[in-house]
């Protein structure tokens, strides 16, 4: 029953947000964050199984769980995906940031054990740098930055992104190419100099 209440609440908040109520987003955000975070962790901690962690699947699952399907128009779904992508980004960046400060364990090194200790913060710092670059991009070109967010963090395909942003698929492809090239340039330059 609580689920239904929550579903109802989120569906309602989505509708309000779509209608321009910004404070609805403030309420929506932590609810979706918690759900996505929980789902992501659950995906990860499933031992083995060889699955791949699909962000789309993750967000879809969150969507099914959080939104009352019967009373939602498609636009709400698009909004949900958009906000979920943003939230996935936030979740990962939060973790990356926390991780960057975490102490690293030592231990005898019979067989090198430090790979993970080095790889994980590696991903973390990559993500942090990407996040920073994406922020700079958003200042110049908010739409292109959003395309990257939806695709990379949200796991949406171009068609879905086109739907969320109300542009053609071709535009999404072009935006993606330009944004990705620019981000690549930013990241490789900051790594090299």
């Amino acid at each position: 029953m609580r689920r239904t209440t929550k579903q109802h609440e989120i569906t309602q908040l989505l509708a309000e947000w779509r209608d321009g109520n910004q404070s609805a987003l403030d309420e929506l955000y932590p609810l979706v964050y918690d759900e996505l975070h929980r789902l992501a962790r659950r995906y990860m901690s499933r031992e083995r199984g060889g699955h791949t962690l699909q962000t789309t699947a993750l967000i879809n699952e969150a969507y099914v769980r959080l939104v009352d399907q019967k009373n939602v128009v498609w636009a709400n779904r698009a909004h949900f995906f958009a906000i979920s992508a943003q939230i996935m980004r936030r979740i990962l960046i939060d973790h990356a940031r926390r991780h960057a400060y975490a102490k690293r364990g030592g231990g005898a090194q019979q067989v090198t054990l430090d790979e993970a200790a080095s790889i994980t913060p590696g991903i973390g710092s990559d993500l942090l740098r990407l996040d920073e670059a994406l922020k700079s991009l958003a200042e110049m070109d908010p739409r292109r930055s959003q395309v990257v967010e939806l695709r990379y963090f949200g796991g949406l395909n171009n068609e879905e992104i086109a739907g969320v942003l109300h542009v053609s698929e071709n535009t999404v492809t072009r935006d993606w190419n330009m944004a990705r090239a620019w981000l690549y340039q930013q990241l490789t330059e900051s790594a090299g100099n």
Binding site: H99, I119, N177, Y184, A191
Partner: protein
């Protein structure tokens, strides 16, 4: 970039990326007109676009790339999974050796074979992480395909009780990092360790495997006998055979991707061993491992890493642009100049100037080691003389180097001018119009599928196909040495010449030998006889003054053409020189192991005939 500029770049970029190379350049140039900075911005972005495409930059999903982040903090790394005596698959756990992000390492007994192993048991999140699993599987696959005493043996990669594990040879010892901590290793020990690392790399490279992550943490020293083991082939890469002018697209791609994905992670202290090409995410081959070995060698000798900085970026700049502190500026004891040369050559930023194979570096180090142990052939008296002269030579070189503020110098340009050296070198025997040169040949024969121990001969013998030889030369005099191979004429009147000495990799590129100095030709590799029978001639030219005809061609003696003189006019002038001076036949004296040539005048010219059947 201003939003207007951004729009402008974006508009041109959008249309340009769908065009082919040439058309694209034209289009961009057209669109940008006089605006050079716009053109450059667009071109750069297009280049990034292609590279991002090739590397599949952010092509996956963030949640997958960052999956490990979501889970790691939840682990309780300190609680051992197994207790002593517990059974895991066919292994009995004896002790826990360590713990890290990848999982735990146990000392265990394989109950089937009764042997003790190191058992790396992967953490659940690692098993679930495709990329790390790929790396892990790769490590197992690559390392188990290599069977060399200096490479950690992998016994088994498998699963038990739903956990993935890797069973390897157990080494009771320390990583080189720990081994060196707080102590200064003796020179012979340093050479020993480096030689063993190189032996491991040589085997890996033979199997076309590049390790790509050679660092002290990946080298173990066994306590009981100080045998060195190279581990962690997790980043290793199987390469295409390296060829001149050939770029291994695949490895280039992989490396650049890896640079994005793992380079920042190397912050944890491993970035310091990266080669310049790795630091720039360029294509990487065997020579990257040689660089890293050079860095380790430098560090063992001086106690400090050659390239460090307060941040990753600083370190990368150091690697790419800066020369390490010269040995005489570090708190190091005496480092033999030959060893300094070896280190410099291993850490040459230019791939062409670096050792080309691990074997070459290995041979140089072995030779040096024998020399230091005083077992090198020849009288010890001569060695002492040589050493003194070399020390002085180095002192001069060091001054030159110090003045220009560089540690290593580019081979052709900065080698000390011959005149400087000869006037400062110990006095040569009074200049008599006579030239004396001694040579002998080192031969290794191919038998039972491998090369036998090399032996030396005084001169010409009949060689067989696959025999490998080296020519060794020394003189009691100072002088300029040129060694040329005259190839078959193949119907034309102009023979083909290949200049073997000087070469960019021998004698710092100089033709000048000092009295008593021995050179080996080729310096790093062997001359191998092919299956075709015939006669080859090696011209030995030893002169008091530099010979302009030869000095002018030494720039051709690079790795691109392997010393082959392709310019017809050059060949002609060499031929003329040889013809005009070959009437002065030197006398020769043969002992069992040496041939000594003596010629009147200031030029000695002698063709060594190499017949093979």
């Amino acid at each position: 970039m201003s939003p207007e500029r951004w729009q402008q770049v974006s508009r041109i970029f959008r249309s340009a990326i769908s065009l082919e190379d040439e058309a694209r350049k034209v289009f961009v140039a057209e669109q940008c007109g006089e605006d050079e900075s716009l053109r450059s911005a667009v071109e750069k972005l297009i280049d990034s676009h292609h590279r991002a495409d090739e590397e599949d930059f952010i092509g996956g999903r963030a949640a997958e790339d960052g999956a490990a982040l979501l889970i790691v903090e939840n682990d309780e790394p300190d609680a051992p999974r197994f207790t002593t005596g517990q059974q895991f698959g066919s292994y009995i756990i004896l002790d826990r050796l360590g713990i890290g992000g990848m999982g735990e390492v146990y000392l265990a007994r394989d109950s089937r074979l009764g042997r003790t192993v190191a058992l790396k048991v992967l953490a659940a999140d690692v098993s679930a992480d495709k990329r790390r699993m790929k790396r892990f599987r790769q490590e197992a696959k690559v390392a188990s395909s290599l069977n060399q005493p200096n490479i950690l043996t992998i016994f088994e990669f498998g699963e038990a009780d739903g956990l993935t594990f890797l069973a390897t040879e157990y080494i009771d010892g320390d990583t080189l990092r720990d081994y060196l901590r707080g102590r200064r290793a003796k020179l012979t020990e340093i050479l020993d360790i480096t030689i063993q690392i190189l032996a491991a790399l040589d085997a890996a490279h033979d199997a076309r495997i590049v390790h790509r992550d050679i660092k002290p943490e990946n080298v173990m020293v066994r306590r009981r006998d100080r045998v060195v083991k190279v581990l962690d082939f997790g980043l290793a890469k199987v390469t295409e055979k390296r060829m001149h002018g050939h770029i291994d697209r695949d490895s280039q791609h992989e490396t650049a991707t890896a640079a994005f994905k793992t380079a920042p992670g190397m912050l944890m202290g491993t970035i310091n061993y990266m080669s310049p090409e790795q630091a720039q995410a360029r294509d990487v081959d065997e020579r990257t491992d040689i660089w890293s070995t050079g860095v380790i060698l430098y560090e063992m000798l001086t106690g400090v890493m050659p390239f460090t900085g307060p941040t990753t970026s600083h370190t990368l700049v150091q690697i790419i642009e800066k020369e390490p502190l010269p040995f005489n500026k570090t708190l190091t004891g005496q480092v033999p100049d030959e060893l300094q040369r070896i280190v410099r050559k291993a850490m040459a930023k230019s791939l062409d100037e670096r050792y080309q194979t691990a074997k070459d570096m290995l041979i140089d180090l072995r030779h040096l080691k024998r020399q230091l142990e005083g077992t090198v052939e020849g009288s010890s008296e001569r060695d002492v003389g040589t050493k003194k002269k070399r020390v002085l030579l180095f002192a001069i070189a060091a001054m030159v180097v110090f003045t220009i503020g560089l540690f290593a110098f580019s081979i052709w340009r900065a080698s000390p001018a011959p005149s400087t050296v000869s006037t400062n070198a110990p006095a040569a025997p009074v200049a008599v119009p006579e030239r004396v040169l001694t040579y002998w040949i080192t031969v290794q024969k191919f038998r039972d599928g491998k090369y036998q121990k090399p032996f030396t001969v005084a001169g010409e013998i009949n060689f067989e196909a696959r025999d490998e030889i080296r020519l060794n030369v020394r003189s009691p005099q100072n002088g300029h040495l040129y060694v040329l191979n005259e190839g078959p004429r193949e119907g034309t009147n102009t023979p083909e010449f290949v200049i073997f000495f000087p070469s960019p990799t021998a004698n710092e590129g100089s033709s000048l030998l000092t009295a008593g100095q021995e050179v080996q030709i080729p310096e790093q590799t062997w001359l191998r006889f092919d299956a075709q029978a015939g006669v080859e001639r090696l011209w030995l030219v030893f002169t008091e003054q530099a010979v302009p005809e030869f000095e002018s061609v030494k720039q051709f003696a690079n790795t691109q053409t392997r010393g082959l003189i392709t310019d017809a006019a050059q060949s002609k002038s060499i031929q003329d020189f040889l013809t005009s001076h070959s009437n002065t036949k030197p006398e020769f004296e043969k002992s069992d192991t040496l041939t000594t040539l003596k010629a009147n005048g200031r030029i000695l010219l002698y063709p060594v005939r190499l017949e093979h059947h």
